[in-house]
Assembly symmetry: C2
Homo-oligomer: 255 residues x 2
């Protein structure tokens, strides 16, 4: 099967022009098919602040009311996505920016209200793997914004890690998929005070042990759960690392 | 040849939820292939004002500085485009939002500085007609935002009438193209004080005569010049009318 590399980069990397340009130059050099999934939360928060819209976070997750949905649609679907697409075209990649609504490639449903009403936030229900695979097969490089839709006319805010994980799972039957989650550390750390204490490989059993010991905590837990779900669905490997270390062979490998 | 209808709708129509929903319902009922080109200038101006960014207009055209380019990228490429895509998907159309950078379908060059420096504004240089025609042939409905790129990494603000005209000309060899420009009047008027004085048909000669008599003036002149250029390039007909009258058979026909 052909190789497919799916890279998810968070806000900080894509929101600084220099680090974005570095990332995109590296990304352009990856051999084989590729997909880029981006965040943009910091820019969304800044724009909301400038517009006098309050950013409400519960357990580190954004509450997306109607006004905030407009902000993230502008920032994720417009500013961040199209800036990346234009820059990659200049590097010779045939980039195409997509939200889940475009070609209906990723459908979600509004998260049910339980303890918290997250507002216009979508839980992914369906990925049209034919559509994504055909584009990739034609040499197109999809640039995925963290927005989905409910096929009832509504856009929904969706976590970029989730988008990357769902895309990777959907492509696992057609490609040898490597999924790379970039964040601010070199990998998953065994000692949060030592940036060099990267855990090189992680099985589900050791992950569970690290969680119960409190070594792995916070936002890293859902990120790794996404990673193990992807492996179970047939993704070849998931690597968690820093954007500038994608090519160093470092980071934490989840198998 | 297959029919292709390209409709360009301006800001007012797409920026009011009710009129947008009406338009999209009508658009969904058009038989055959179709493309929608949208504006969004009013929303861009409103957002710029809320952000304390001044909107500079010279001869009715916007000066696009770096800050304003971000605003139009957010509004045209994100908010307006993706809202339309999500709504059309709910109506069963396989919509795909595009800027000129996406798939590199429309390349432009920054307008040279003559008397006025319009800033980040692009004059269209190349339409990849294969890309657009293949999408349309596959049943995709392209939703075109008024943004192009220079293939050097920069997005450029481009008049939506121009985008529609260039797309129509590029498709004229492969489809029987009808290009419909929607604006706030029922058609081109022979008496600006009488909204019913629609000129039903306009040749290039009568157009020139109306211009020299001062009957046709202002922003209607470049719109009609675009229309005649499209006809010369093989577009079957160009209709200028009001959004709610697309199906009435009225408006001004340019042949």
């Amino acid at each position: 099967m052909n190789q497919l590399t799916i890279i998810k980069v968070g806000g900080k990397v894509v929101e600084t022009p220099e680090s974005l340009d570095n990332l995109l130059r590296q990304f352009a050099q990856i051999i084989g098919h590729k997909v880029l999934v981006h965040g943009g939360g910091r820019t969304a928060t800044q724009l909301a602040t400038r517009l006098g819209i309050e950013s409400n976070l519960v357990n580190g997750r954004r509450i997306t009311d109607a006004e905030m949905l407009k902000v993230v649609t502008m920032v994720y679907g417009g500013l961040v996505n199209k800036t990346i697409v234009a820059k990659l075209q200049a590097l010779g990649l045939n980039a195409l920016g997509l939200t889940g609504a475009d070609l209906n490639y990723m459908r979600s449903e509004k998260r049910p209200v339980a303890e918290v009403d997250y507002g216009f936030v979508g839980d992914v229900k369906e990925v049209q793997s034919d559509i994504l695979a055909n584009l990739i097969g034609q040499g197109v490089v999809p640039i995925l914004a963290p927005l989905t839709h409910d096929k009832k006319g509504n856009l929904l805010n969706t976590n970029a890690d989730t988008i990357a994980g769902e895309a990777a799972k959907a492509m696992a039957k057609r490609f040898d998929v490597t999924l790379i989650y970039c964040f601010e550390k070199k990998g998953v750390l065994s000692d949060e005070n030592d940036d060099e204490s990267v855990i090189p490989e992680l099985s589900y059993e050791t992950f569970k042990a690290y969680v119960s010991d409190g070594v792995i905590q916070g936002g890293m837990i859902p990120k790794l759960e996404n990673a193990f779900e992807a492996i179970q669905a047939g993704v070849k490997e998931v690597i968690i690392t820093r954007a500038d270390a994608i090519f160093g062979g470092g980071g934490t490998r989840v198998r």
